[in-house]
């Protein structure tokens, strides 16, 4: 049992599950305060999401809707994770995601590009933003969190400005792809039929494949070996002759590219349009941070955590608004997401607990042994004392 608990993967899983339970509990308490009548139903609704429906067809459709948004979230999670393994906190993923949205939508609507070039252009845009952070970090020693946050805002307003030319006449939303740029809508590969949801596209399997690629690159290649060494001990990496500056820039370029794909994956499904008057950075990039940590800092774990986070976010939308105001869904899911960040903390706590119980056990054994020794041969003790005197 102890050995089982000491396993890193098991610990991550347990810590993640504890976080989720804790988040649900606190969310429930908040609901109780606001209105005790609907609290239990509301929390169940958050957890059920697509399962709430009694119709199999609706269930599949709702599951599909969750999966459509899971793909970009996973990409943002991978972006944060990739940088984190190299010791960098890529909070700029949010801005890189926006850059991806901007590039893909503009290329689709203004230039009439197909979906694949649009995605690649989104990668370039996200990577470019990541490169700026990387250069500042390597050559000017600017903290990547600071420059990342500031670039988030620059990316947001630049995007608003650029996409202004592609907006609908009567509203502040960009044009729909359908009818204006059909060639840019992501192919569905039959997933739309399978999930009974027209938005389900190639993005879903692509995101999962990319997660596996990230895993392989990080843990199986020379490049990943260098990156993780740099992340764990920059000095040792330098001592071993690794090009740490180049690696930092390359890492943020890749992380930016991953987040950029995320932007394209959502908007090229035509599920929503960009509002050019928006004044806040979309939460997708920030939720990616939570997904990474909840996923135990593992690319494969992040696949599942991304799904879970999207699951409760969508579930929150179904909470009964006769009891609660409409913001409650975001509040509950954000409480849970917030607590997801505590995974590492809980992991340490688990480890400490194991160490303490081991110590206690060792003590008990020693006490028993001492007792046995004392009863067996008392002369041993006096011999020891003599040793102390000489």
């Amino acid at each position: 049992m102890k050995k089982f608990l000491k396993n890193n993967a098991v610990q991550s899983l347990i810590a993640s599950l504890l976080c989720i339970i804790l988040g649900l509990l606190i969310g429930y308490i908040v609901l109780l305060f606001i209105n005790p009548d609907g609290a239990w139903d509301a929390i169940l609704m958050v957890l059920k999401n697509f399962l709430k429906s009694s119709l199999a067809k609706t269930r599949t459709k709702l599951l599909g809707a969750t999966l459509v948004r899971t793909a970009p979230l996973l990409m943002c999670g991978l972006s944060v994770l990739f940088a984190y393994k190299v010791g960098l906190f890529n909070i700029g993923a949010a801005g890189q995601y926006v850059a991806g949205v901007c590039a893909s939508l503009y290329a689709a609507l203004a230039w009439g590009w197909g979906w694949l070039p649009c995605i690649l252009f989104a990668v370039v845009a996200g990577a470019a933003l990541g490169a700026i952070v990387g250069f500042l970090k390597s050559y000017c020693n600017v903290n990547e969190v600071i420059s990342g946050i500031m670039l988030n805002w620059i990316a947001l307003y630049t995007t608003n400005m650029i996409l202004m030319s592609q907006k609908q006449q009567a509203s502040h939303y960009t044009l729909k792809l359908k009818g204006n740029a059909d060639q840019a809508i992501l192919p569905t590969l039959g997933l739309d039929k399978l999930l009974k949801n027209e938005r389900a596209s190639i993005a879903i399997p692509l995101a999962i494949i990319l997660a596996i690629i990230v895993y392989v690159v990080l843990f199986r290649t020379r490049f990943g070996y260098e990156l993780r060494a740099t992340g764990n001990n920059r000095n040792a990496a330098k001592y071993a002759g690794m090009a740490e500056k180049r690696n930092i820039i390359l890492t943020l370029v890749i992380a930016g590219g991953l987040a950029g794909i995320g932007g394209a994956m959502l908007y090229l499904t035509d599920i929503e349009q960009w509002s050019v008057t928006q004044t806040s950075v979309p939460g997708m990039g920030f939720n990616g941070i939570a997904a990474t940590f909840l996923g135990g800092l593992n690319p494969i774990g992040t696949i599942f955590s991304s799904f879970f986070i999207q699951h409760i976010t969508d579930g929150g939308a179904f909470v009964d608004t006769t009891y609660y105001c409409s913001q409650i869904s975001d509040l509950i899911s954000s409480i849970i997401i917030y607590l997801c960040g505590f995974v590492l903390f809980l992991k340490t706590a688990i480890n400490r607990g194991i160490a303490r119980s081991e110590e206690r056990e060792a003590l008990r054994e020693k006490a028993l042994a001492a007792q046995a020794a004392q009863t067996a041969k008392p002369e041993n003790v006096s011999a020891n004392e003599k040793g102390g005197e000489k």
Partner: protein, 512 residues
Amino acid sequence: MESPYAIEMLHITKKFPGIIANDDITLQLKKGEIHALLGENGAGKSTLMSVLFGLYQAEEGIIKKDGVEVKINDPNDANDLGIGMVHQHFKLVECFSVLDNIILGVEPTKNGFLQKKEAREKVLALSEKYGLQVDPDAIIEDITVGMQQRTEILKMLYRDNEILIFDEPTAVLTPQEIDELMQIMRNLAAEGKSILFISHKLAEIMAVADRCTVLRKGKYIGTVETKNTTMEQLSAMMVGRNVNFHVDKQPSHPGEVILDVEHMTVASKVHKKDAVKDVSFKVRAGEIVCIAGIDGNGQTELVYGLSGLEPLKSGKLTFKGQDITKASIRKRSTSGMSHIPEDRHKHGLVLDYPLEYNLILQRYFEREFTSAAGFLKRKPIREYANRLIEEYDVRSGQGAITPARSMSGGNQQKAIIAREIDKNPDLLLAVQPTRGLDVGAIESVHKQLVAQRDAGKAVLLVSLELDEVMDVPDRILVMYEGEIVGELDPKKTTQEELGLYMAGAKRDEVKA
């Protein structure tokens, strides 16, 4: 009847998961005596002191002060009992004056305002009484290490501590400063203070201590009167066998010049002065050259400049006939330079990587370990690691996959040495390769250095340990304040002469 002991630690046992750090240890400190606590690294000295200071709670055993049992739950309790400690690494505020540091934490105040005048009087009186010369208004970062240590001692005396603990106080001092410290300790003892002197330097213990308690691997070995014992006896108690203090080696046969350093200057990271000033020397194949000196005289920066970790400000480096002044770290490494770094945690290891990944740290990019497509070859890596573990006797819990973090310091060092020597270098930069190792491990490292030399390699050893400086190399270069102030032949010089050079009291013009 009054107890003759100032402090007694009786049958102390303290365990950590997996090891017994202190196993039934008894230490009795008489009033007014200097009592040495001797043991190798890892013998349990630090743990015992942590128990005395209440940082750890012992599972068994009791502590008595003046014959009365006391409970020490945290360092404040220890302070209240009059126990004070001079740490190996001083706990001083660098930009404060000596006086400010002494009163720190016990500042005399009136209505919230500092009353430095009376504090100054008390400090001056104490320094007079015990012969501790300090300038109360000097700023810590400007004064010598010896004076910083005296400040630490005054800190204890200012708090009226009766029991003074010195944790390896001589490690940072010059031989002359060590003599002064010994005299101060004798003065303190003569005034009735009880002194516990933690050390693993036998000569110092014999010179200053009245009695000596020896620990080995967490166990109590015994307490002896120093006047009734010999260094050999003490050392045998410490390591459990007689140790060969001298390194057996044949005369060297230096060959061609491997490393030629000309007018090398390296800027300092911490202050505006240059850390290495216009240094020139050569290292030949088949010889061990030792850079000796007190810590902080430019040795670290010299090595950084040689290995490429820091750029040179000026000067030229020639390695095997090639100009490497501007070469990258990787270039220097692949062209035959190995580097056992000073700080194994900072530079030498990626602590969260398994041992096998650390063993390929300098060679992971070679075709042997990485495929053409950039994938790591896991099987060859494992086999290579297993061979090194076997050959260099690197011990760890789970073999090749043990996280480096969970290995003991000695085995971490062995892993680094294995990695660097197995690269088959032409030049081995060994910076304090025996730091933190026990006597047995030190012996084996020294043997390996000599073996490298005998195999025709050039070895540049940087060491702070006088014994090592005298025994291992074929030539000694002494560094003082960034310059090479003397070249000595270890067979012809004495520790005293070496000390004079190290302390800057003597210097020659050294030609490259």
